[in-house]
């Protein structure tokens, strides 16, 4: 399941007994959600690059309810039998979506022309407890996926339990231990694939920088660092190491946010450079330019998009 980080379990006693009485530890802020631990680094270094022509049209019916029409015309990669060769097939995909956003209740549904439905729902039952559900449903048998998440937010900690199909169970916990540092852990168990694992994560943030790291028993170690050079510019770097498959990737990138545009660029240790520009041309109209150049595989992807509404 995409986005599933290895789970790690820190017993609650360890995290809470570290609290001393110098800083006001009873009033620590609430940490970010465990899944968004690397949020700033991922937002700067991993924009939604695309290839081809893209149109996103959001039709607002009222403040909370809108329809979205997404069209992407361009080459899509198909798996090739000979390694080192990339096969691309031109295709065009249209996706219709209906979205309802209320402060306490959110519903989002997108359906493609193949009949594949991507549904998300989120409900805040109380101020601290929320339930989320996420499903990808297809007409093909046994290819559908569903996931339920139950989140509880405490004064300086967050905890989440996830249940999914294929006997997936995962739980994670993150706690602010000092005003800048938060530590967390996660455990998961996938019944169908007979896999289970544990993971640990840490995040240190100040006004100027954010550093975070995550280690998991599935073999993944991630470290990243974001430095806010000024209000408009931030630099980020990221290091990913898979100690089971001995795969290392590191990237360095920048993120410039100006009044009318946002530019993100990065260069990778795999020989990939990419850039993504979003320009607010006028009210309600945004132009997107995306480029990803893989010098090693000789794969060049350029995209042009328009975002309306």
């Amino acid at each position: 399941m995409a986005g599933l980080s290895p789970p790690i379990w820190t017993p609650q006693d360890d995290a809470k007994t570290k609290v001393d009485e110098k800083v006001d530890y009873s009033k620590l802020p609430c940490p970010v959600i465990y899944e968004e631990l690397h949020r700033e680094a991922f937002m700067s270094l991993k924009p939604e690059l695309f290839e081809g022509f893209r149109v996103d049209f959001n039709k607002m019916m009222n403040q909370k309810f809108f329809f979205s029409h997404n069209l992407l015309m361009g080459p899509t990669e198909i798996p090739s039998r000979t390694p080192g060769k990339i096969l691309k097939v031109s295709s065009s995909n249209y996706e219709f979506g209906a979205n309802f956003y209320d402060p306490k209740f959110m519903l989002m549904g997108r359906i493609t022309m193949d009949g594949k439905l991507n549904a998300r729902a989120k409900c805040d039952l109380t101020d601290n407890f929320s339930v989320k559900a996420n499903a990808q449903l297809t007409s093909e048998a046994h290819k559908s996926q569903g996931l339920f998440c139950f989140d509880y937010k405490g004064s300086d900690y967050r905890t989440q339990v996830q249940l999914g199909n294929g006997s997936l169970f995962s739980a994670n916990y993150i706690q602010h231990v000092t005003p800048h540092l938060s530590l967390g852990g996660e455990v998961f168990w996938i019944g169908e694939q007979r896999r289970s694992g544990v993971g640990y994560a840490a995040r240190y943030e100040t006004d100027k920088m954010i550093a975070s790291g995550q280690v998991a028993s599935s073999g993944l170690a991630i470290m990243n660092y974001v430095q806010k050079v000024s209000e408009k510019v931030s630099l980020a770097t990221d290091f990913m190491y898979n100690f089971l498959s001995r795969d290392v990737t590191t990237s360095v990138g920048y993120d410039i946010i100006l009044r009318q545009c946002r530019l993100r660029g990065k260069i990778d240790s795999n020989g990939v450079t990419s850039a993504y520009l979003e320009d607010q041309v006028s009210m309600g109209l945004r132009l997107l330019l995306s480029a990803e150049v893989d010098h090693v595989k000789k794969d060049y992807k350029f995209g042009l998009g328009v975002n309306v509404g």
């Binding site: 009222n62 309810f65 219709f96 979205n99 309802f100 519903l107 439905l117 449903l137």
Partner: protein, 74 residues
Amino acid sequence: MESTISLKLKGKGKGSKGASSSDDKSKFQVVKEWSNWSLKKAKVATHYGFIPLIIIIGMNSDPKPHLFQLLSPV
């Protein structure tokens, strides 16, 4: 004729014995079958009904949008 009738009676007897032993196990099986059936129906209902549900909820939220806004492309 008589031989076929006696064979049939034997077959029925065996069948009923088999059913009584499987009845004890079948409570769990029944629960599993019902949960599988309900999950399949829920999946089909979600697949067809989720987007219409969002549209119905959205059209009834305030300020209430007009029906023609739903159908017009602008």
